[in-house]
């Protein structure tokens, strides 16, 4: 998406090579009919209220459309009657008009409120669905579908549906209702004049269809264009420091200008399509009015039509064709919402590659007072979908309570091993067992309680420090939180923050260094109290005393727990019962630290190198 493409992304042929998958172009396959099904499933639970809203609108239109009839009646009947001193009909007109006007107003109020409730509930449902679904999708998905796109799905795309519901749908229903009402009334007033009005909808329909087709294409392009703008925007704001340090501002401005221009162009195209439509529809409508006036006036002159009927017909025509422009606005929001809904449906159609089990099994009750559990990798092999094999088939058993350090160079497959154990990925072949239960059969909530992973990227959420630690266990008390922070050596710096544990990490004075963030992440993990703890280079930003403090804490915390510690600093290894050395996806050495250090293998080399560095 960095290079501007002028071809329609939707039509681009999928590239066969490794990175030419749909993720690159922001067009996830949407199963046919998924968009419609999504819309239906959103509206079905609200059926009753949708019906009520429709009824209110039906009545409201009836009240509104009665007034020209009253005009016709007044001119043709009440005026002669009044002249003949019969005041009854005119009083009836007055009462009728007052009634219609008040009803129209009251019903309008009721309708807007009812419609807003329906709309807001649909949006609430949809926002929630996208959010929950995005959260349920696997890490694998998140690594390929960029955060910017995901964000634009739940912001701009939902926003365009909101526009459709708020303005468009109401317009559409109102348009249909008023059209039907008016056509029926016109036909009733005068069959001939009514027929001309009805006939005019033939060409109008054709115009609308043509517009829909053309605008649909433009809107899809526009939605892709704005997503690209968002991706660039988010990336820049999140990487603002390197942007500054490497003087990327001007280059970024230029890149952004290209994306922004593309959006500007598609946006302009969309508006121009609309202009064309307006000219066409207005021409048809106004020609029909002229025809009806011509014919009607002829007949009034020939005494075959009452003047009041012609007056009413003209008044109705005005109302008949007035909403046609607004119908285009509906088509507008419909097009953009349809494009957005299609993308949302595409996202929702992605199945988590790490799904909830169909028939979940429970973990066996802990046999001892120790919280740890046994982990078995049984004939596990892992390869990316695209084919690159990361871990060739291997077997590995981590007994209950063992702390295992995994070392090896970057890219040796340590993190993949950890991610398999945390079930961020599922193995390509074989199974990963926790106390004899395949991870795939465990309910995900139970799995996450049992297995916790701390990674080196220590992201903090907005909120207070305490809240960030409590992510580990939401029901934890303040004492629990402080205990965890103390155990890990984070209490001191947290207390020194302006508001201590209640400091908002994004507010003034809440600046927290990378090392401190890792401490928070550790406290979080400690608080979670898992059976299996995975630390993936979780101490990389700590200074040595910090790391030591963490290790001391770990030595007690890990007591009885099963732990996998991935580290490139060998100091961590000292707390391990066992060391695995990995290389090119294979476990090449396996033994206690003492055995390996005194041996002649790679670990002994590594250890020597590390010792030297401490000199």
């Amino acid at each position: 998406m960095t290079a501007p493409t002028t071809t329609a992304p939707a039509k681009a042929a999928p590239r066969p090579e490794e990175h030419g998958d749909p993720f690159d172009r922001d067009v996830l396959p949407t199963p046919p009919g998924a968009t419609g099904a999504l819309l239906r499933s959103l509206l079905t639970p609200l059926k009753a209220r949708v019906a009520l809203t429709a009824l209110l609108l039906l009545l409201q239109q009836a009240a509104v459309q009665a007034s020209p009839l009253l005009v016709a009646y007044a001119i043709d009947e009440a005026v002669p009657a009044f002249a003949a001193d019969d005041h009854g009909p005119l009083i009836a007109v007055a009462v009728g008009y007052l009634l219609c006007a008040s009803l129209a107003g009251a019903l309008q109020y009721a309708f807007i409120v009812a419609a807003a409730r329906v709309n807001q509930d649909v949006l609430l449902d949809l926002r929630g669905r996208i959010f929950r679904h995005a959260q349920a999708l696997s890490i694998d998905f998140h690594e390929r579908y960029t955060s910017g796109r995901l964000i634009s799905r739940s912001t701009t795309d939902v926003e365009s549906l909101r526009e459709l519901l708020d303005e468009g749908l109401q317009e559409l229903v109102m348009f249909i209702l008023s059209t039907v009402y008016i056509c029926v009334l016109l036909l009733w007033l005068d069959l001939g004049l009514g027929a001309v009005a009805v006939a005019s909808f033939g060409p109008l329909y054709l115009l609308m269809r043509a517009y829909r087709r053309r605008a649909g294409r433009v809107y899809r392009l526009r939605s892709t264009a704005i997503a690209a703008v968002i991706v660039k925007f988010v990336e820049t704001m999140n990487g603002i420091r390197p942007v500054r340090a490497f003087r990327r501002e001007a280059v970024n401005d230029a890149d952004f200008a290209v994306l922004n221009k593309r959006h500007e162009r598609t946006n302009g195209d969309a508006l121009l399509e609309m202009a064309r439509y307006v000219v066409g529809s207005r021409t048809v409508a106004n020609t029909a009015v002229a025809l009806i006036v011509l014919w009607g006036a002829h007949r009034v002159a020939g005494d075959t039509l009452a003047l009041g009927v012609l007056a009413a017909a003209v008044l109705y025509l005005r109302r008949l064709y007035d909403p046609i422009d607004r119908l285009a606005m509906f088509l507008n929001s419909y097009q953009s919402a349809a494009a957005s809904l299609e993308k949302i449906a595409g996202l929702l159609a992605q199945t988590p590659s790490v799904p909830e089990p169909a028939s979940p099994r429970e973990l066996p009750v802990l046999r001892s007072e120790h919280p740890g559990r046994e982990v078995v990798f049984d004939g596990v092999r892992f390869a990316y979908r695209t084919g690159g094999e990361v871990l060739p088939t291997f077997d590995l058993t981590l007994p209950t309570g063992q702390t295992v350090a995994v070392v090896g160079s970057t890219g040796a497959g340590k993190s993949t091993l950890a991610k398999l154990l945390a079930r961020f990925y599922d193995p390509t072949d074989g199974r990963v067992l926790l106390d004899g239960v395949d991870l795939r059969e465990l309910p995900i909530a139970e799995l996450r309680r049992g297995v916790v992973m701390v990674t080196q990227e220590a992201f903090l959420f907005s909120g207070t420090v305490a809240e960030n630690i409590a992510i580990g266990r939401p029901d934890a008390t303040r004492e629990d939180i402080e205990r965890a922070a103390k155990a890990i050596g984070a209490h001191e710096f947290i207390s020194a923050l302006p508001e201590g544990y209640d400091t908002d990490v994004r507010k003034r004075g809440g600046r927290i260094s990378a090392g401190q963030r890792q401490l928070v992440a550790f406290a979080r993990a400690l608080l979670a109290d898992p059976a299996v703890l995975i630390l993936d280079e979780a101490t990389s930003s700590l200074d040595i005393p910090g790391e030591r403090a963490v290790q001391r804490a770990m030595a007690t915390v890990l007591q009885g727990r099963t732990a996998v510690v991935i580290a490139h600093r060998l100091s961590t290894v000292e707390i391990a019962d066992r060391v695995l050395v990995m290389e090119h996806g294979r476990i090449v050495e396996d033994g206690t630290p003492a055995e390996l250090i005194t041996g002649t293998g790679r670990f002994a080399d590594l250890h020597r190198a590390w010792r030297d560095s401490l000199a």
């Binding site: 219609c100 006007a101 912001t155 207005r282």
Partner: protein, 593 residues
């Protein structure tokens, strides 16, 4: 959570919207023409009833068939004219308004890139994003419809009322009856709606923040199985938003009801009075028909005012939110360089540097206090200190990511405040602890650190120094796309690329913030060996946590309590400074004594 609402300045909607003028100015000719065309089109619609009146009272009453033809022809011509004019209006504004939106967005983006880092520390990017997207779309919509149509409708209503008054002033006055109560209601409505719509927009921003964080922090959420509580937070916010939106709808419903009912009652009254006059022979039937068609033709103009005001109000709020960010001061302008004698190679010097975050309370202790440091040309100095002691902050001062509060930093004797940032940042290369790669190829990411002329040779050398030769083995070699849009690399891989980026331009000054933290021991040793050569000819400041990194440097400075507590070689400090020994070995201080 919402940083946006710190000080909601109360401005009137009109004053907020007036601030859009500089952006609208370039397209003003088109916009005014379009408004004029729209007024013309609208008035064309008002002439049609007059033609009808002429037909009813003239040819129809006189049974004059050719007159009827003439009248109908007029109606057709007016109708076609109206169609073309309305189309013309849209055609006139389509491109210019998209352009205004794009310009405002580019302006925001450019401005954000140049705001102080401290600003970005405070603002969640979700709040910024919602300004760049939703808010600007609202502004465009405002310029396209309400702005024009409030004017057009106003003129149409005035012209319509005048036509009606000329035809029959008593009926005209009856129609004007509800004008005052409608205006009063609109004013009341505008005020309340402003508050609610501001609240709704801020809540959208907060919701965006939650969405964004839950995407960025997905590994943590998944790792702790916290998607439920995250979903709960999301649900709470979206419920709040729903409540606000419903309140908005209610206000809108009231104003709609008023706007629909009152004028309609007036039309009804006019009808009755008119009928009486026609019956008494004071008024022609044609005039009554024309009068009523004019009144009803004005219906849309009056009714739409409610929704036009609502959009205007939202646009005003959006504009306010937009300028809230645009009004933030950029990094201070670069001072013109005074002609200070440049003393040749002098290295990097800190002279009594004190730093306090600009948004910190003025009575809080500064993060850095009276820092004096001299890194000689070609020398590298390691900076050591406990977690949170301000090391990263100190390094951020050199490329002026933050500005010193007092004191000076000089590069080869030249004050960094006297250089343009552009020049300064070209001289100083930085590798951050959190290595960020941009959506570009590996090669482009690395070459960002070099002059434009740098090519293959420089790239290969930098990759070799950083031991990032894995880049050649990627699917498309150094052309492989990485970052948000591309292949995801491991932390260690990213860090090595970031290091390559720092050294690729052979900078005079190098600032490395714990550049090897994510590397395994083997790679680290190899990188160190290669880095030594680079460091031999560079003046470098290196934040270090580990002895191995410290050993890259010629000397070490210990940062403690915001001050430089000790300076010397690694071995000197190990012997003489207990805090340093503690930091470097992790052993208890007693043991070292």
């Amino acid at each position: 959570m919402s940083t946006a609402t710190d000080t909601p300045r109360q401005r009137s909607a009109v004053r907020s919207l007036l601030r859009l003028w500089p952006y609208v100015r370039p397209v003003r000719a088109r916009l005014f023409t379009a408004a004029f065309v729209a007024i013309l089109a609208s008035c064309t619609g008002l002439v049609i009833p007059l033609v009808l009146k002429w037909m009813v009272d003239g040819p129809v009453a006189d049974r004059d068939r050719s007159g009827v033809w003439l009248g109908a022809l007029f109606v057709l011509l007016l109708g076609l004219g109206e169609a073309v004019l309305f189309g013309l209006r849209r055609w006139l504004v389509a491109r210019p308004l998209s352009h205004v939106e794009a310009e405002m967005r580019a302006g925001l983006y450019g401005h954000l890139q140049r705001l102080p880092i401290a600003f970005h520390d405070r603002w969640a990017s979700g709040q910024l994003l919602s300004r760049a997207t939703t808010d600007l779309m609202l502004v465009r919509m405002f310029l396209a419809f309400p702005l024009t149509f409030l004017l057009v409708n106003g003129v149409t209503i005035v012209v319509g009322v005048i036509i009606m008054l000329i035809q029959d002033w008593t009926l005209g006055l009856v129609i004007l009856g509800p004008a005052v109560p409608v205006i009063v209601m609109c004013v009341l409505f505008e005020k309340r709606y402003a508050e609610v719509s501001r609240r709704a927009q801020d809540q959208v921003g907060d919701l965006t923040t939650v969405v964004e964080e839950s995407v960025l922090g997905i590994r943590i959420i998944k790792g702790f199985g916290r998607h439920r509580s995250q979903a709960r937070a999301f649900r709470e916010l979206s419920w709040k938003l729903r409540g606000t939106e419903l309140r908005k709808a209610q206000l809108l419903a009231v104003i709609w009801a008023v706007i629909v009912t009152l004028p309609e009652i007036a039309v009804g009254a006019a009808l009755v009075v008119g009928c009486v006059q026609v019956a008494d022979g004071q008024l022609s039937a044609g005039t009554l028909v024309a009068f009523l068609s004019t009144a009803l033709a004005l219906r849309w103009s009056v009714e739409s005012i409610g929704f036009l005001l609502a959009i205007s109000q939202e646009a005003a709020t959006a504009t306010e939110r937009y300028f809230e960010v645009m009004d933030e001061e950029r990094e201070s302008a670069d001072r013109a360089a005074p002609d200070t004698p440049v003393e040749g190679a002098d290295g990097l010097r800190f002279h009594g540097v004190t730093f306090r975050y600009p948004d910190a309370p003025p009575d809080s202790p500064p993060v850095l206090h009276g820092i004096d440091l001299h890194i000689r040309p070609g020398e590298s100095l390691a900076l050591v200190g406990a977690t949170g002691s301000g090391k990263t902050t100190l390094t951020a001062l050199v490329p002026r990511l933050h500005e010193v509060t007092s004191g000076r930093i000089t590069l080869d004797g030249e004050d960094i405040m006297a250089m343009s940032r552009e020049e300064l940042r070209a001289k100083v290369a930085v590798a951050f602890e959190e290595p960020t790669l941009f959506s570009a190829s590996v090669g482009e990411n690395v070459l960002m650190g070099a002059a434009d002329s740098a090519g293959r040779a420089e790239l290969d050398r930098a990759l070799a120094v950083a031991q990032a030769d894995f880049a050649h083995a990627l699917p498309q070699g150094t052309d492989t796309q990485v970052g948000e849009q591309g292949l995801s690399l491991s932390g260690g891989q990213r860090q090595r690329l970031a290091l390559a980026r720092a050294v690729v331009g052979r900078p005079r000054f190098l600032v490395l913030d714990d550049p090897l933290s994510a590397l395994d021991v083997h790679t680290e040793a190899a990188v160190e060996a290669a880095l030594r050569e680079v460091l031999a000819e560079t003046t470098a400041l290196i934040v270090a946590h580990r002895p191995s990194t410290v050993l890259l440097a010629d000397r070490v400075a210990l940062l403690s309590g915001g001050r430089i507590a000790a300076i010397g070689t690694h071995h000197e400090l190990l012997r003489t400074n207990a805090e340093y020994a503690h930091l470097m070995s992790g052993a208890d201080e007693e043991v070292q004594r």
